[in-house]
């Protein structure tokens, strides 16, 4: 109510100011319209010109309105969750889950940070020996993070029937990170490939397979272990 009144008053004020300015412009035009008739008049006019102060430039009394440029929504960040299966070398295949965040730097490259967890099962030795436990409960958690660079290798479109086309891309991904497993942190190199389909501009569904490789001496000898994870993820762009 009060706002409405304020707006009305402001409009009135703006209108009045604009009106005054135009009235002044008309008066000025009238003065300039009087043209000198004779040579004498011209001389007098010239003398008056030199004596009189220069005509006052009308200063705008209303501040120029600044045009606000609507901000463009930049959607380069992609966050999401994933769920799948992780095959921990010697410890069987188990469900895994995690979160990820990615930043799309160019149409070809993106950076992705991932954090995930799985729980190791029993080795065949433990199963056969019966009552032997190689790891305690907490040590069975396989927790990893990775910082990776992805390359959209084969961008394309997926067609569902006649009426629906969804953008897609096949990508390669590789990075470094760390894995906490069996009571120790290990430097981990991960690499793999994924496939992404976008049902809408802001939603993506991925299927990714990555191998997480690190050196382990858990079972006596030091060796490189390959821990292959396959997972489905849902991400949103914003």
């Amino acid at each position: 109510m009060e706002n409405g009144l304020r707006v009305l008053l402001l409009m009135l004020a703006a209108g009045a100011l604009a009106g005054c300015a135009s009235v002044r412009a008309w008066l000025d035009r009238d003065q300039t319209a009087q043209e000198p008739q004779t040579l004498d008049d011209l001389v007098i006019a010239e003398q008056e010109d030199t004596l009189a102060p220069p005509p006052r430039v009308i200063e705008p009394e209303v501040e120029r309105r600044r045009i606000k440029r609507p901000k463009i929504d930049t959607e380069n960040v992609e966050i999401g969750v994933h769920y799948g299966a992780l095959s921990i070398e010697d410890f069987g295949t188990n469900p895994s889950y995690g979160v990820s965040a990615a930043y799309h730097v160019t149409e070809d490259f993106f950076l992705r940070a991932e954090l995930g967890r799985s729980t190791a099962g029993r080795t065949s030795f433990e199963t056969l020996a019966g009552d032997v436990q190689l790891l305690t409960g907490d040590e069975r958690y396989f927790t990893y993070y990775s910082l990776s660079l992805g390359y959209n290798f084969l961008p394309g479109e997926v067609f569902l029937g006649r009426g629906l086309a969804m953008n897609s891309a096949f990508y390669l991904i590789g990075g470094i990170g760390s894995t906490e497993f069996a009571g120790d942190h290990r430097f981990t190199v991960s690499f793999g490939a994924g496939y992404r389909v976008l049902p809408t501009d802001w939603l993506a569904v991925h299927v990714t397979v990555q191998d997480r490789v690190f050196e382990s001496d858990l079972l006596g000898r030091s060796k490189l272990t390959n821990n292959i994870e396959a997972y489905v993820s849902a991400t949103v762009f914003f």
Partner: protein
């Protein structure tokens, strides 16, 4: 604010503006917008703009084509680009490194906020994995870039942070400890292409331990980063 979002309107000045089905160079052009016609800019993803024509057709236009459009008042439509100019002067940086921290393998990431082309505030996080101990470190400091307009530009860093060292159980004093640190360092950054650059860095840390003497650690790291 209520109602529909207001979008920026730009006018086509070239003979036509081609709209692609997706935000990528391979997606086919399915619609063209003629000269003098306008489009609304809905969103931007990397180097592509999603636009809507006066007739309501939505498609993606590349940034090099959008650079040739004008605003309603006739001024050119400008926006930040991933190029050398952006490398010289930008607001944010992020990057990932691999390296060596006192003999341990280091994984590190950083983010920076530029106060001007030469000075930036940087936050870096890292984890080191060694034979004797593991640990994490977090640092906040300043980076000063010399000659930011060059493709290869050196920089100096200075800052402070904390380190948490977790010695492996086989060692004599397996106590987990957190100490404050300070560092001084320098490095080089090299512009690659688009928004990417390489960054190599050396830092010397002083760890203020609770014992009689402080520890000093050298850190070398190399990685790539991007600006936005």
């Amino acid at each position: 604010m209520s109602g529909a979002r207001e979008y920026l309107q730009v006018f086509v000045t070239e003979p036509y503006l081609g709209l692609h089905t997706g935000p990528g160079r391979g997606y086919p052009v399915f619609h063209v917008v003629g000269r003098e016609e306008s489009v609304e800019v809905l969103k931007r993803r990397t180097e592509w703009f999603k636009v809507r024509t006066e007739r309501g057709v939505e498609g993606w236009a590349p940034q090099h084509a959008m650079l040739k459009t004008v605003l309603a008042d006739g001024s050119p439509f400008t926006f930040d680009l991933g190029n050398r100019e952006g490398f010289t002067s930008h607001r944010f940086e992020m990057g990932v490194f691999a390296g060596d921290y006192g003999g341990a393998t280091l994984i590190s990431a950083y983010g920076s906020l530029s106060l001007n082309p030469q000075l930036a505030v940087e936050l870096s996080l890292g984890q080191f994995l060694g034979n004797a101990s593991n640990g994490v470190l977090a640092n906040l400091g300043f980076a000063h870039v010399f000659l930011p307009e060059r493709r290869l530009s050196p920089f100096a860093t200075l800052g402070t942070g904390v380190v948490n060292i977790d010695p492996k159980a086989t060692l004599v004093s397996p106590t987990d400890r957190t100490d404050q640190t300070a560092y001084v360092g320098g490095g080089l950054r090299f512009y690659l292409t688009r928004r990417f650059f390489l960054r190599g860095e050396y830092r010397r840390y002083v760890i203020f331990t609770s014992r009689d003497e402080n520890e000093e650690v050298d850190e070398w790291k190399m990685g790539f980063a991007f600006f936005f």
